[in-house]
Symmetry: C2
Subunit: 348 residues, 2 copies
DNA sequence: TTGTACGCGTTATCAA
DNA sequence: TTGATAACGCGTACAA
């Protein structure tokens, strides 16, 4: 009993009547598997059949069913990406790099927002894993033990991004936030500032390491003072930057510079200086972290530590694609480094 | 030949040995379909069996295979979202609303970046559709005819976001960019500014409508002048804002206010005023569009037209979920409106 | 280079 | 309330 009468689809199908590979095959007078190959590995099908098949594909408007494909191959054409925030410009840039690194690839990206929560990360990992993704990209190196176990058992490539550290689950690309914090602070000290404050919002593990770098630099110079550090668990924003800078001034009225957790915070500190009539950089020096686009055009322009977020996304995907193709990347752990961009806000 | 020896999984499986619903079923002494129901519609299974099944699920660590589920039910637990940009804060907020509106739902979000290109949108639509998504959310109302056709044939709910207009494909939530542009411009005129410039980057269809609103307001007041309009196809950014403001000044040296395409542009214009020593708001008035967080804390604080982006994402998802559940939302077309937030930058 | 037979893990259908 | 059976549409393994 032929389930399909050539050309006339049996509309009783559950799927709603979309043409299937069998429809294409019968109409093109070939086997289904040949159609499958013509679409996925054209070079393995003779040019004649290939053309024939493609013509029918166009005519019928056939589009392969990704779900069936995923089931049959035990692999979804999806790359799962876990980030702690979507509004943070930093992750927006990374995500953009990921999408653009994928380019014409047939893979899709699925983004999960962990909201800086390890539990949420575990749950998302479970969900993502239940799709058998082609690869997984996760942020940071502070996964919970359970999450780490899930990642290690995941039979797909895993890339940790945003930061480097010991014990990569699989592959890793990022930079040292500790060294970044240290370099920025050293610069402020070398520029002649002495009472350099640290201002940090949403102290996630990476910010904590920036703070550790700040502390190291200050201690090396014999300048460290607890009262110069002001942090909050609130999310970072320009407004939070202004507020925290005010707090910092209250705690340490003599401060002469601020190393900010990130650029939004730095911009907030700058606005607060304007508002209070404190001159930047002569009275107060300001440095940010990440070097968002606005830093260069702010007035005065703002010193920041440039990080390669877009590049990180692109290379993370490139590494994942390599691994998916079965090739082990030459360097499974990549340190992208950073660059201090000195601008008006710290030049006295 | 029993494929599964109770408790001892046949490791020859392609899937890599993950427990399947059959494993759970045999161990719990029930049929596979009962396990399936216990997971999806617990109330349809007797409490006794339900407990029994859940115990085995936990014991085995069974997680349903989403791909198999998608194939069998002809529906992937995925909502496709098409946005023109990922770096633009505006879309970041909408996307955040979408994720948070989904909350504990089992659905996943898949985001496609159209890069403001109709062709890219068509391709992404094809890709998304090949998964049989549970719903589709697309940005704007300017889809190509082909894309519109795809959306109309898609057998899933479709929500158009970001703007309202005639002829919704299915559902729609947004606001009128034309009225927004008109309202902001009127405010500047009422505040006493006469030579109000329009500064716009990346003139996508929505920005064009903001410009149309600007023009209408200016013409109503008898103040319209071509030379007051400066636009570019370049993407918007703080830097572009500074540059375009400079261009605008070159073309119309006597301009006394700028209505900017969006808030990044407004901030750029503000910095340029600082740099040139032009007082805001006394010499130059500045207004933005969207009311990003930084506008309230900038110095001087910046007037902007507040739009409800997060809310838009949340409600778009709510509408989609309603439709997925088979209920037609009471209002398939929602105008969220906007609110002009007047601040220092336009108070002379 | 092409095709056959089968399995992937789940849900829809229908009957008990 | 529960279950047997048959899809779902494709890719893998192997053979021709």
């Amino acid at each position: 009993m032929p389930p399909v009468t050539a050309g006339v689809k049996a509309r009783s199908r559950r799927g709603g009547g979309r043409p299937t590979i069998a429809d294409v095959a019968s109409k093109a007078g070939v086997g289904a598997i040949t159609v499958s190959r013509a679409l996925r590995e054209p070079e393995r099908v003779s040019p004649r059949l290939r053309r024939q098949i493609m013509a029918v594909v166009d005519e019928l408007g056939y589009v392969p069913d990704r779900n069936a494909r995923a089931l049959a191959s035990a692999r979804a054409d999806v790359i799962g990406v876990l980030v702690p925030s979507l509004t943070n410009n930093v992750f927006a840039d990374v995500v953009r790099g990921i999408y653009e690194g994928l380019d014409q690839n047939h893979l899709q990206v699925q983004i999960g927002n962990t909201h800086y929560s390890q539990e949420a990360e575990e749950e998302l990992l479970q969900t993502f894993l239940s799709q058998r993704p082609s690869a997984l990209i996760v942020s940071g190196i502070d996964q919970s033990p359970a999450a780490t176990a899930l990642l290690e058992r995941a039979d797909c490539p895993v890339v940790q991004i945003m930061e480097t550290g010991p014990d990569p689950v699989d592959m890793m690309i990022g930079f040292s936030h500790y060294e970044g914090g240290r370099a920025a602070t050293r610069h402020l000290i070398e520029a002649g500032y002495r009472r350099v404050a640290f201002i940090g919002a949403r102290m996630d593990p990476r910010s904590e390491r920036r703070l550790a770098g700040y502390r190291a630099a200050m201690e090396e110079a014999g300048l460290f003072d607890e009262r110069l550090v002001t942090t909050t668990v609130r999310p970072s924003s320009v407004t939070t930057g202004s507020e925290l800078f005010r707090e910092a001034l209250a705690k340490a009225p003599a401060l002469d510079a601020a190393f900010c957790n990130n650029d939004d915070m730095a911009l907030g500190a700058l606005f607060e200086c304007h508002r209070q009539g404190r001159a930047v950089p002569s009275e107060i020096g300001i440095a940010g972290f990440n070097d968002l686009e606005m830093m260069q055009i702010a007035y005065p322009s703002l010193t920041s530590l440039r990080t390669y977020r877009y590049e990180m996304g692109r290379r993370a995907i490139a590494m994942a694609l390599e691994a998916i193709a079965g090739r082990r990347p030459a360097e499974p752990v990549v340190d992208l480094g950073f660059e201090l961009i000195v601008r008006e806000s710290t030049r006295r």
